[in-house]
């Protein structure tokens, strides 16, 4: 019985652990059901309120009913406790309920372990340096909480607990780094990860309404980053290929079913560009690569018949793909009838004015190239405007755009162009992706933001194959040359204008992004290949799993020895005062030659005994001890006297009479 009362938690301990739990759940609140957050907060408030009145946890039946109801409700809502998100939510709820029933220190230990696991779960999903720092901070506070679970009264100052926990963490850091660097990594998952419900991700999708891309144009979010090894393609060749759209219903372009024909064999021309794309996680299956990809290193990826690069599973994690692309292609073989049919299909009932226009132009230009130039010429000569804020379009969007509003974004032009091509019997398709990119001169890579999303067309020219045509370039050529921000300089985007006027801010943003890229390359993507390079750098022959284990063991032994030395070193009383330190050194030296100072001996008594035992040292030791006493007990000792004493002690090196003759 007495042990139980002794173990009972105090209000202060409860407050500490509630704070830790609160901080852990704080970064998840957006993804927790609102009532779970409310339950945890209420549980903490009730338990703290009871503790403040010196009362115990609510009786067991009440706690049981609450727990049963809450967990049951959660299961009804989530349908599963499997997977990271659902599991974390459940753990958070359990931690809150546990808080309600906390009676002894054991319960607090349990909550702290749940907090550790929640921190890990948050880190499995996140990838930023800030999240890691935050979770380490939570871990720090949680371990400080454990220090408060002391049995001896009085409990020390809070600041001391936090400092001591911090020191333990700091001492753990070298070992943790060694573990992280040398613990063998495996390539893929050990078992299949449960698919989490994907979050709504920004970015391109496999459908396109003309207005879609201009929403993306407002987003500054990074779509992906690219590092070229070797030459960089010029601006007009930096088209990053995303979903290719074939089906048009009069309003919307869709990807449609494209698995019907094998890929056309292409002949690649021009210089080859080798590069690595660092892709962010996405719910989609395509990889963004430079037009037109010929080789890539991702074994799971394959090339579709319309030259997209696709992976079987959605990208749940950031990946790097190294690929080679060529700027120009040609195809000698004719287009297969099925593919021609897919890319020539137009709904007969919609956009009638556009169809008539196409017929007129086609009559004047029976040659395919002549017809294409005539359409582009129309965009260039007639008053077509390029704007981020195009007017809304109604039933026949292509008609309204071409004849009425004449204001649009890349999506409008790509859509209208493809319709005019198909109406004239030229197979055409819309390609969405990104164009251009911002060069980061601080770390030599390119950033592609969502604002650089773009749409263009590909048309089939007999004898040459699929050729890229960017009708938007006909409207505002400088857009293709300089990217979005310049072509809409007159637009309403105040932030981008402000950024252009403050180059240092742009630089700062680029530097920050360079650090992110470094973080991603060095930390997030650290893998067995990086470990091999590391071992190679350490000049360890034949890198591999065994060598890693060996190095890790060596690091562990060294780390543990260092720890042993470090923690014992802290046992020595730290003498802040240099004079005391010097005196301690004097006593240590005399001790090492067989005349240790006894605990009860003052300086002068000690000196007398040394003089009796070792007459040869007597005068020196007496003088030193006398100076020490004066420094300690004289009313106003001189500053120089202290320095002189310290120097004298440093010079004093007694010889062991037992060893010497």
């Amino acid at each position: 019985m007495s042990a139980q009362t002794h173990d009972r938690v105090t209000f202060e301990q409860l407050a500490w652990v509630s704070a830790c739990l609160g901080l852990t759940l704080l970064v998840r609140t957006a993804r927790l059901p609102i009532w779970v957050t409310a339950t945890v907060v209420a549980a903490a408030a009730i338990r703290l309120g009871l503790a403040a009145r010196g009362r115990d946890a609510p009786p067991a039946p009440i706690r049981f009913i609450i727990a049963f109801l809450a967990i049951g409700l959660l299961f009804v809502q989530l349908r599963t406790f499997n997977g990271l998100a659902a599991g974390s939510t459940l753990l958070g709820l359990i931690a809150g309920l546990k808080l309600l029933e906390t009676r002894t220190r054991r319960d607090i230990h349990v909550i702290v372990m749940i907090i550790f696991f929640l921190s890990l779960a948050a880190l499995l999903e996140a990838d930023s340096f800030w999240m890691l720092s935050y979770q380490v901070g939570v871990c720090w506070l949680a371990t400080a909480t454990l220090l408060r679970l002391t049995g001896a009264a009085p409990v020390g100052a809070r600041r001391d607990s936090i400092l001591y926990a911090g020191r333990l963490l700091a001492q753990a850091l070298p070992l943790a780094i060694a573990f992280w660097l040398f613990f063998p990594r495996f390539g893929g998952p050990l078992w299949q990860l449960p698919e989490d419900g994907g979050e709504a991700a920004t970015g391109l999708s496999d459908t396109m309404n003309p207005g879609d891309i201009n929403e993306l144009a407002m987003s500054d979010e990074v779509a992906f980053r690219v590092r070229f090894s070797g030459s960089t393609p010029p601006e007009e060749e930096r088209y990053w290929r995303g979903p290719v759209l074939h089906n048009f219903d009069g309003h919307t372009w869709r990807r449609g079913d494209t698995g019907l024909s094998p890929a056309t064999t292409l002949d690649f021309h021009g210089p080859a560009y080798r590069y690595t794309v660092s892709l962010e996680p996405s719910p989609h299956h395509w990889l963004f690569v430079l037009d037109w990809p010929s080789q890539w290193n991702e074994p799971a990826a394959y090339r579709t018949n319309d030259y997209m690069l696709v992976v079987p599973n959605a990208l749940s994690q950031p990946i790097d793909v190294t690929a080679t692309s060529y700027g120009r292609v040609s195809a000698a073989a004719p287009l297969l009838p099925a593919a021609r049919g897919l890319d020539s299909n137009l709904p007969a009932a919609s956009n009638p004015r556009s169809l008539r226009l196409a017929q007129q132009l086609r009559a004047a230009h029976p040659d395919d190239r002549g017809y294409v130039n005539a359409v582009l010429d129309m965009f260039r000569r007639q008053p077509y405007f390029y704007t981020l804020t195009p007017p809304r379009l109604g039933q026949d969007p292509v008609d309204e755009f071409l004849f009425d509003t004449r204001r649009g974004f890349c999506g409008h032009y790509a859509s209208a162009f493809a319709v005019l091509m198909r109406a004239a019997g030229i197979p055409a398709r819309v390609v969405t992706g990104y164009q251009g990119g911002t060069y980061n001169r601080f770390a030599n890579y390119w950033i592609l933001r969502q604002s650089e999303a773009h749409a263009w067309d590909e048309i089939w020219i007999e004898g040459s194959g699929w050729q890229r045509v960017d009708p938007t370039a006909a409207i505002a050529p400088e857009r293709v040359e300089h990217g979005l921000n310049d072509s809409v300089a007159s637009g309403a985007d105040a932030t981008s204008r402000w950024q252009r006027r403050t180059p240092w801010l742009t630089d700062a943003r680029l530097r920050l992004d360079a650090v992110r890229m470094l973080w991603r390359e060095r930390i997030l993507e650290f893998d067995s290949a990086s470990q091999d390079r590391l071992l190679d750098w350490l000049r360890i022959p034949d890198p591999g799993g065994q060598k890693l284990a060996l190095v890790l063991s060596v690091c562990l032994i060294a780390g543990m020895s260092w720890l042993t030395w470090q923690v014992r070193r802290e046992l020595r009383p730290s003498l802040a005062d240099p004079v005391s330190r010097a005196y301690a050194r004097l006593c240590r030296r005399l001790g090492s030659i067989g005349v240790p100072r006894l605990p009860h001996e003052g300086a002068e008594t000690f000196a007398a005994r040394v003089a009796a035992q070792r007459p040869d040292l007597g005068p020196d030791v007496r003088a030193l001890c006398r100076r020490y006493s004066e420094l300690r007990y004289r009313a106003n000792p001189q500053r120089t006297a202290a320095a002189a004493f310290i120097a004298a002690v440093r010079r004093f090196r007694p010889r062991d009479s037992r060893g010497s003759s």
Partner: protein
């Protein structure tokens, strides 16, 4: 399960005794005698860390792995700190204690910390009883371990233990001090028989109260065990040898507390009655002697004498009683 555990603990203690031999107090804890094992929280943490490692590897998450490795290293660091918390600590104890059956025996300990760090949560454990103390840097603290004793007799514990779970409660470090602790459990004072001299408890009390200056008969030389209130402080203050005031009538009539005078009672009852008489006589500051089978204590007075008598009663072997 508990029995297995207790047997294991006893064997470990005995093994440690063979390894280190008997210890002299004060004892400074060196590193060879500190043992350490994970607690159940430490074992749970180990499982958690294994799960974290698997999760980190499976999700291919370098940040998750970093966090897991940080916690692993933290546990290893905590192990060193737990061990260090005992290292170099000095413990001294009053190895003998007196108590009455049915009350608590109190063992006094002194913990001295000559190091530059605070020693938190040091638990001193004697068999089942324990006390927890913290000792600041370059300081000392004392602890009293109260152990309930039910029966009369002499209880001898071969060793006591210093334990700590600090810092995080994930490890338990402990050391054995192979120094016997002895508690003399005197019988519970009970019984209403009058004193053999006929004065009875009440008479002795009245006698003590009636004593005044007129009983003062002179000074005699100081001897150990005399109550402090009988010291002749003025003589000492004048620079004389320590002296004790003596009173007439007290030294003259020694009371013999005799086992044989209580032949009607059961043996334990007799011991309880004798204990009652010892306490009464001591309270009245009367000289008394104790005579029990196997022991005879000549009449005297004072705390030392009283303790000797109570210990004789405690040590009276239970099996020889018929």
């Amino acid at each position: 399960m508990t029995r297995v555990r207790q047997a294991a603990i006893a064997r470990l203690g005995a093994w440690s005794a063979r390894r280190h031999g008997p210890d002299a107090l004060p004892l400074t804890v060196n590193r060879r005698r500190i043992y350490i094992i994970p607690t159940r929280f430490g074992l749970a943490l180990a499982l958690l860390l294994a799960a974290m490692l698997l999760a980190g590897l499976n999700y291919n998450s370098n940040l998750g792995l970093a966090f897991g490795f940080l916690l692993t290293s933290l546990a290893l660091v905590a192990m060193h700190h737990c061990n260090r918390n005992l290292l170099g600590l000095t413990v001294d104890a009053v190895a003998e204690a007196d108590a009455f059956a049915g009350t608590d025996a109190s063992f006094e300990f002194l913990l001295r910390n000559d190091s530059g760090i605070e020693r938190c949560d040091i638990e001193i454990r004697c068999a089942t009883a324990a006390a927890t103390r913290s000792v600041p840097a370059m300081s000392y603290n004392h602890a009293v371990v109260r152990m309930p004793v039910e029966r009369r007799g002499v209880i001898r514990m071969e060793r006591f233990e210093l334990r700590t779970r600090y810092p995080f409660g994930w490890f338990r470090a402990w050391t054995y001090a192979q120094t016997p602790l002895v508690v003399f459990v005197a019988p519970l004072p009970r019984g209403d028989r009058p004193l053999p001299s006929g004065a009875g408890a009440a008479g002795a009390q009245a006698h003590a109260e009636a004593r005044g200056d007129e009983d003062f008969s002179g000074l005699r030389a100081y001897e150990a065990g005399v109550p402090l209130k009988h010291m002749a402080w003025k003589v000492l203050a004048r620079g004389g040898a320590p002296a004790v005031r003596s009173y007439t009538g007290l030294a003259a009539q020694p009371e013999w507390l005799d086992w044989t005078s209580l032949d009607r009672l059961a043996p334990e009852e007799r011991l309880s009655q004798l204990c009652r008489w010892v306490l009464d006589c001591d309270a009245a500051q009367r000289p008394f002697g104790l005579r029990i089978p196997g022991a005879e204590i000549t009449p005297a007075r004072g705390p030392a004498h009283r303790t000797a008598c109570l210990r004789a009663l405690a040590a009276f072997p239970a099996e020889t009683v018929r």
